[in-house]
């Protein structure tokens, strides 16, 4: 039962174990849902997926498992009339076909469907009426069967399985995390700044002993707060273009940093730093963050780490309008200077082998801009960078 489904999830690299599968089967046994593929979609999601970064993979796996059945996103495309009809007929039993006739035949049905769809489009703003709402639509009748064609009947667009697993709403969360090498984590560990903040939780033995002694042997307890890592880190990743070949190393670094620092913020840029950076590559053109805003938001005590190969045309750094992607009023070097003058500690990690650096003019310029604090993206290089930062 559901073994194939389980294996499909596994194939899409969703971390789930036999335990979850048994849970799912136990839940199905309790009759909490009955023959409803939408509910099954949600239920299996609750049981099998333990982190929203995997929601996207789950949607893909689910779509693959129920392949060709629910994948049609009716509202974004023209209705594939012939296709639908074929699928319809293939899955209808004799009685159902009789029933269909009583509704005026398949053509009539398709027409009604189309009309409803048009209505749906026109009333998009209100958006609470779907084809098949209230169970009166003939299309809803087949919805219970995962093999059937279901044309959403849910009042809420967000919850309709058709919509959700095809639109892959959670695409952005997926960091495609490689389990980073422990070495990087160890190197990053050096960037720890222990501070005693918060409530007094730990017994301060030295003070307790001395003050008990002063107290004539009557116990006088003293507490002190525990130490924890208070360092704050801001990371800027160069993305795309020549960085593609280093993506694996960068991912490892990213994962390691993510788990090591409590206060970690990260942004992306392309080639050189300009007036805007972004947090999300999918929406890099619509949702950008101004550099000014970053300088305003984060205090000078944040440690800044750039990750990039700094390999580009020199004009991309020093000339206005030098960016390969947009027109920049001020040269990239201005923005670099602006940032480095605000933050106290800045370092640049370069995935290029250190030996090759001298072949690129642009690396030299960047190196000067950040005051020679460029290190190779190796465990040793990270160690050196961290030493500089701390």
């Amino acid at each position: 039962m559901f073994i194939d489904f389980f294996l499909t999830l596994k194939k899409h690299k969703i971390p789930c174990s036999l335990r979850e599968l048994l849970d799912l089967i136990a839940l199905i046994k309790t009759d909490i849902i009955f023959a409803d593929v939408d509910a099954f979609y949600n239920l299996a999601k609750v049981v099998m997926v333990k982190d929203e970064v995997h929601y996207d993979k789950y949607d893909r796996a689910f779509a693959e498992y129920f392949e060709g059945i629910e994948q049609i996103d009716i509202f974004d495309t023209v209705l594939p009339d012939d296709w639908l009809r074929k699928e319809f007929e293939k899955h209808l039993s004799k009685e159902e076909q009789e029933q269909l006739k009583s509704l005026g035949g398949l053509d009539e049905l398709m027409n009604t469907l189309k009309k409803r769809l048009e209505e749906q489009k026109e009333r998009h703003a209100g958006g609470n009426k779907w084809v098949g709402t209230g169970g009166t639509s003939p299309f809803g009748a087949y919805g219970y069967n995962p093999e059937g064609i279901r044309v959403g009947q849910d009042k809420n667009r967000n919850n309709s399985a058709v919509k959700v697993w095809d639109k892959r709403e959670f695409k952005n969360f997926d960091q495609d995390r490689e389990l980073g090498s422990r070495n990087i984590k160890l190197a990053l560990k050096k960037l720890r700044k222990f501070a005693r903040t918060g409530a007094s939780e730990k017994l301060d033995i030295n003070t307790t002993i001395s003050s008990t002694a002063k107290n004539g042997g009557l116990l006088d307890v003293h507490m002190e707060p525990e130490r924890h890592n208070a360092v704050k880190v801001l990371m800027f990743f160069d993305i795309g273009g020549s960085m593609d070949e280093y993506i694996h190393t960068c991912e490892e670094l990213f994962t390691a940093a993510h788990s090591e620092f409590k206060h970690l913020e990260f942004f992306y840029f392309h080639n050189c730093l300009y007036e805007k950076v972004w947090r999300d590559n999918q929406r890099r053109h619509s949702e950008t963050v101004d550099l000014e805003e970053i300088i305003r938001t984060f205090g000078a005590d944040y440690k800044v780490i750039f990750v990039g190969d700094a390999t580009m045309g020199p004009y991309e750094i020093v000339a206005p309008g030098g960016s390969v992607e947009h027109w920049n009023e001020k040269p990239g070097s201005d923005h670099m200077n602006r940032l480095t003058s605000h933050f106290n500690k800045v370092a640049w990690l370069n995935p290029q082998p250190e030996l090759h650096w001298s072949y690129y003019h642009s690396i030299d310029i960047i190196k000067q801009l950040i005051g020679n604090k460029m290190y190779p993206l190796t465990v040793d290089g990270i160690g050196r960078a961290i030493k500089e930062l701390s």
Binding site: P15, S17, R19, E20, D23, A26, L27, T30, I32, I33, A39, N42, L43, K45, V46, V47, V49, K50, D51, E52, Y55, G127, N128, D154, K155, N156, R157, N158, N159, E169, F170, G198, A199, E201, L218, L219, V221, P225, E226, H228, H258, S259, K262, E287, T288, V289, D290, E293, R296, T297
Partner: protein, 277 residues
């Protein structure tokens, strides 16, 4: 079975998640943007199932052991110096934690472990056995505390730290998405049943516009919207003021924006739009 209550709207998938967790008696881990009602879920669940709610709010200094019990060695030492008779029974110095209370409740309680990500990284790992077997051992008194019946456990997280796999295995997981406009209307209807339809529409428009504003540091969420509405109604802001796109600034914006940078951004935008006219 859990359903939306008179002041809480639960989406279908959330309801299913809760019911699944109740059915298999597993902890339910809830994540989502701040202000989407994660903590409130436990309160409303307790109300709807009519059972006791035990809340355990996690701070950065909270230790797993504190949820089980604490042995107050210091006061025992002090008592012994003063020659108190209580000293002989170690049980006098065992302070019960929230989990213990939940385990020994007569009627099945709901245990809320709020903001588990605030605690130390090892915190969830220290609770594995307790959440799985619903029992623990008290070393000082050599006694096993076993749950009379497995409590319903709701765990919330704001995603500040990643939770260990072994812990996640033992939970069901649900991510509360930000509600859509229609859901939002339902939520407001529940909190302010008498709000005028057109006023509501207008506020929602302003609200979603504000959420989409670029460069805002803390996007306003559902709970902020509800607070804002409360203020608008209390202040009796007329519809015209709200509808007036020419006015300088959104009335009572302080309820929506919690950050001075955001406020100044809004003021700047308002100033610019005025100048453009």
């Amino acid at each position: 079975m859990f359903n939306s209550t008179e002041n809480y709207i639960a989406s279908d998938d959330l309801r299913l998640a809760v019911n699944a967790a109740i059915a298999l008696e597993k902890p339910l881990l809830i994540k989502g943007e701040p202000g989407t009602g994660k903590t409130q879920l436990a309160e409303e669940l307790a109300k709807s199932l009519n059972c006791q709610l035990i809340q355990w709010h996690i701070k950065s200094t909270t230790k797993a052991q504190q949820g089980l019990y604490e042995y107050d060695a210091v006061s025992r030492l002090r008592d012994s110096q003063l020659g108190d008779a209580r000293v002989n029974d170690i049980g006098n110095y065992i302070v019960k934690g929230k989990l213990w209370h939940a385990f020994e409740a007569d009627q099945r309680p709901i245990l809320l472990i709020d903001e588990i990500d605030k605690a130390d990284i090892e915190f969830p790992n220290d609770l594995l056995q307790e959440l799985d077997k619903m029992e623990f051992f008290v070393y000082e008194t050599q006694q096993v505390v076993k749950a009379k019946q497995r409590p319903i456990i709701i765990i919330t997280s704001n995603n500040e730290k990643e939770l260990p796999d072994a812990f996640l295995r033992r939970c069901f997981f649900h991510y509360i998405k930000f509600p859509s406009k229609t859901e939002m209307e339902q939520i407001i209807e529940v909190h302010h049943p008498n709000v005028k339809q057109d006023l509501l529409k207008q506020t929602l428009e302003v609200f979603f516009e504000l959420r989409e504003l670029k460069g805002i540091t803390k996007k306003p969420s559902t709970s902020e919207l509800i607070d804002w509405l409360k203020l608008l109604i209390a202040d009796d802001v007329s519809q015209e003021v709200l509808l007036d796109k020419d006015s300088d600034i959104i009335p009572l914006f302080g309820a929506l924006l919690k950050n001075e940078q955001d406020v100044s951004l809004l003021e700047k935008l308002a100033f610019m739009s005025r100048r453009n006219r």
